[in-house]
């Protein structure tokens, strides 16, 4: 994800692979020589030690240290079983060699001509041709037998063998043989297109089903459930094994389609649940919890190999969606398709699964038709197909009209000029608690700042008011004083007093003078009483 686009990554990966491969080829040459010598000395007819090492899945398969075939501590019963599985295990090695080749070819078709030694070129470019004759060769002659199988591949083999040994021997052997034959056929046929491969797989499923119904080996397992179980395991095993060969194949435009859908979804990131009429109220934490689970489930699909495992992810995703819908509703009634599809579209838009298209095509091509034609998984998968088709299609699917927006609005959203309110809210919701607190504190600080400013301003106003007031008082006093200069008994005193602002003395002096003024200004009053001496 980080750093490179898929193309650059390919280039870099090719270079690295190339160096690695040269080293591996050299090692391999050496290992092969050693093995051949030892093999000739010890067991001219037995199978290679490496294959038995692979079988017993002990970590002994280092290429430079061949060991004797007696080392696997297997009982006699195991040995017979082993022998019956041997061709199948050979197949495993073969498949790997082939898939490795395909992989390399995928990255750089021209690399073989430039730097690899002629010997290794032979190894890389011919395993498919050789495959038929190679069946008769001793397995150590396989190209790159020491190459590690992927974890999934190993596990699939183990699970399948574990499963199949539970059945009676002829049945188990027969199933294994058929699977083995089929994979040889499929992988040896390198030129066939993906559709041909799909057809081959489908024909195989069919012939296998028919065989289970008709062949005498399976008489003791005539139950439908047994058949379904066998078919399920066969499908899982085969598809896990050939996954690398058929998933997102370089012959197809799957990768380009994936990128196209991804870009489209990225452009549509602004669409809210409400716009789609999806009844999902993400503001409720219990709802968003389920939508998150749904998103995780659909993305998890990439990590599964077998078609039914991928389908199970889709189903899980859908069930989480139903849970989210139920929690968004007040009455808790079951969700109908009218509610489910918009919600699924919403989840796909939110999740933007990277290999969506590849996964859908892979399932369509290689799943046993039973899984995608009937049953719950089929229903959910079909809805996912609908959701993707709806998102992709600009003419009849997601467009301004279907979102009840005007074309102008739609374009503005597409260019990112407009943002929906819900989107912003959601952005906030996605923040971590620490950031949320920080934003809250910042908001508080901002409002505090505002209030302080306001207070300061008010303080300034008050100060001004006070100044004006005192000025006013001063002028008033001056005015009054100028009106009554002659009556002032202390002209000099009151003059000097006017220069002192707002002091008690001024007030006193002013009251004094006012008293005087009053006294002398009021002639209407009766004459003051004169003290008289009582007779």
């Amino acid at each position: 994800m980080a750093g490179y686009c898929s193309k650059c990554w390919r280039d870099i990966y090719t270079q690295q692979q190339h160096k690695l491969q040269q080293q591996i080829d050299l090692d391999h040459e050496y290992a092969k020589k050693l093995q051949e010598e030892e093999h000739r000395n010890l067991h001219p007819t037995e199978t290679s030690p490496q294959v038995s090492a692979l079988q017993s899945s002990t970590p002994k398969s280092s290429p430079a240290q061949p060991h004797s075939p007696q080392t696997p501590a297997s009982t006699k019963a195991d040995a017979t079983l082993e022998r019956s599985f041997k061709p199948f295990e050979n197949k495993k090695v073969h498949t790997k060699g082939f898939s490795g080749r395909g992989f390399r070819n995928f990255f750089s078709p021209s690399s073989e001509h430039s730097t690899v030694s002629p010997n290794s070129v032979k190894h890389k470019s011919t395993p498919q041709r050789k495959s038929n004759s190679a069946m008769q060769m001793s397995p150590h002659q396989w190209p790159n037998p020491e190459r590690q199988l992927s974890f999934e591949s190993k596990r699939a083999s183990k699970d399948f063998v574990d499963f199949i040994v539970a059945f009676q021997e002829p049945a188990a052997k027969d199933v294994l043989k058929k699977c083995h034959e089929f994979m040889t056929k499929l992988t040896s046929n390198n030129e066939s297109t993906i559709d041909e491969k799909s057809e081959m797989v489908q024909v195989f499923y069919q012939s296998m089903t028919d065989r289970l119904l008709s062949h005498p080996h399976f008489k003791s397992h005539a139950h439908e459930e047994d058949h379904d179980k066998i078919m399920n395991n066969v499908e899982k095993f085969i598809m896990t094994k050939i996954y690398r060969d058929v998933f997102c194949h370089d012959q197809t435009d799957d990768e380009a389609e994936d990128l196209k859908v991804q870009t489209r979804i990225r452009n549509l990131h602004w669409i809210t649940a409400a716009m789609l009429d999806a009844n999902i109220d993400i503001s409720k934490s219990c709802v968003s919890e389920w939508t998150d689970k749904a998103i995780t489930a659909i993305i998890e699909m990439d990590s599964k190999r077998a078609p039914q495992d991928k389908l199970a992810c889709v189903s899980r995703c859908s069930k989480h969606i139903f849970e989210a819908i139920r929690r968004s509703k007040d009455d808790g009634s079951p969700a109908s398709a009218d509610e489910y599809l918009p919600a699924l579209i919403h989840i796909v838009l939110k999740a933007n699964p990277p290999l969506l298209k590849s996964n859908i095509r892979y399932i369509t091509r290689f799943s046993n038709p039973i899984h995608i034609m009937s049953g719950e998984d089929a229903y959910f998968f079909t809805n996912l197909c609908c959701a993707v088709t709806y998102i992709e299609n600009e003419e009849t699917g997601l467009n301004a009209e279907s979102l009840s927006l005007t074309q102008v609005e739609f374009d503005a959203y597409m260019r990112g000029e407009m943002q929906t309110g819900e989107k912003q809210e959601e952005n906030e919701r996605q923040l971590c608690p620490g950031l949320k607190l920080m934003y809250k504190n910042l908001n508080d600080l901002a409002s505090l700042h505002e209030r302080t400013d306001k207070m300061l301003e008010e303080a300034m106003q008050m100060r001004q008011g006070i100044q004006q007031h005192s000025l006013h008082v001063k002028t008033q006093v001056e005015k009054i004083l100028s009106q009554t200069p002659s009556r002032d008994p202390f002209p000099n005193f009151s003059q000097s007093l006017t220069y002192v602002n707002d002091s008690t003395e001024t007030r006193r002096s002013r009251s004094t003078s006012a008293l005087d003024e009053d006294l002398c200004g009021n002639d209407l009053l009766p004459p003051p009483l004169v003290p008289t001496v009582a007779p």
Binding site: D210, L213, K260, V261, R264, N267, M373, S374, S402
Partner: protein
């Protein structure tokens, strides 16, 4: 081989609000507008039936009825054995939609698909806007059964699904006769091929639609 359960896929088509979901909930849970409905969702339900000793498993697929999802119809109804087309007897438009669906289904799937038309909400008989005669004549003209239903009163619903199931059984038996000896599996196989064709059609149109950004 004959004891194997028949799997039938039935799609529910019809405009939003005609009561598709109520119909299927009434059928599978025998409940209407009930708080105690146990299923989480009513969009995919299974119903096991036994018709004259034959085991039948119906997978009932509800579809989104909103007009903007109409174009997705083919993805829903491919590989279905039967379709129930629901309209609201008080809503002339919804009957028109049913006609469109029938036309489309016959065009895409031919006679392989069994059709049943359900005139729902007969509890609102007073405000009926689609005449019984018109609806039944139309159904007969396209080879479909017409049944009046009410999810609220639980009328006609069992009959609806039973009629359809019988019809599907009949068609499936005929197909089995045609491909005599071939198992159910191979008829499935044929279906799946048909499905693949539909997919490739889609892909072709998608490619035409050009770059998305």
């Amino acid at each position: 081989m004959g004891s194997r359960t028949k799997q039938f896929k039935v799609v529910l088509l019809g405009e939003g609000c005609v009561g598709k979901t109520s119909l299927v909930l009434r059928y599978c849970e025998d409940k209407f507008n009930d708080k105690h409905i146990t299923t989480l969702q009513a969009s995919f339900l299974n119903k096991k039936l036994n018709i004259g000793g034959k085991r039948v498993n119906l997978s009932i697929w509800d579809t989104a009825g909103q007009e903007r999802f109409h174009a997705l119809g083919p993805i829903y109804y491919r590989d279905s054995n039967g379709a129930i087309l629901v309209y609201d007897i008080t809503d002339e438009d919804s009957f028109q939609k049913v006609k469109n669906w029938v036309k489309e289904l016959r065009k895409m799937l031919g006679q392989d698909i069994c059709l049943c038309i359900a005139g729902n909400k007969i509890d609102l008989e007073k405000s009926r806007h689609v005449s019984v005669q018109e609806a039944e004549d139309y159904a007969a003209s396209v080879g479909a059964k017409h049944i009046h239903t009410s999810a609220k009163l639980n009328k006609g619903i069992d009959e609806l699904f039973l009629t359809l199931s019988k019809k599907m059984l009949q068609v499936s038996d005929e197909q089995d006769d045609v491909s005599a000896g071939a198992s159910l599996g191979s008829s499935n196989r044929g279906n799946s091929r048909r499905g693949v064709v539909v997919v490739s059609n889609e892909e072709a149109t998608e490619q035409k639609s050009g770059c998305c950004s």
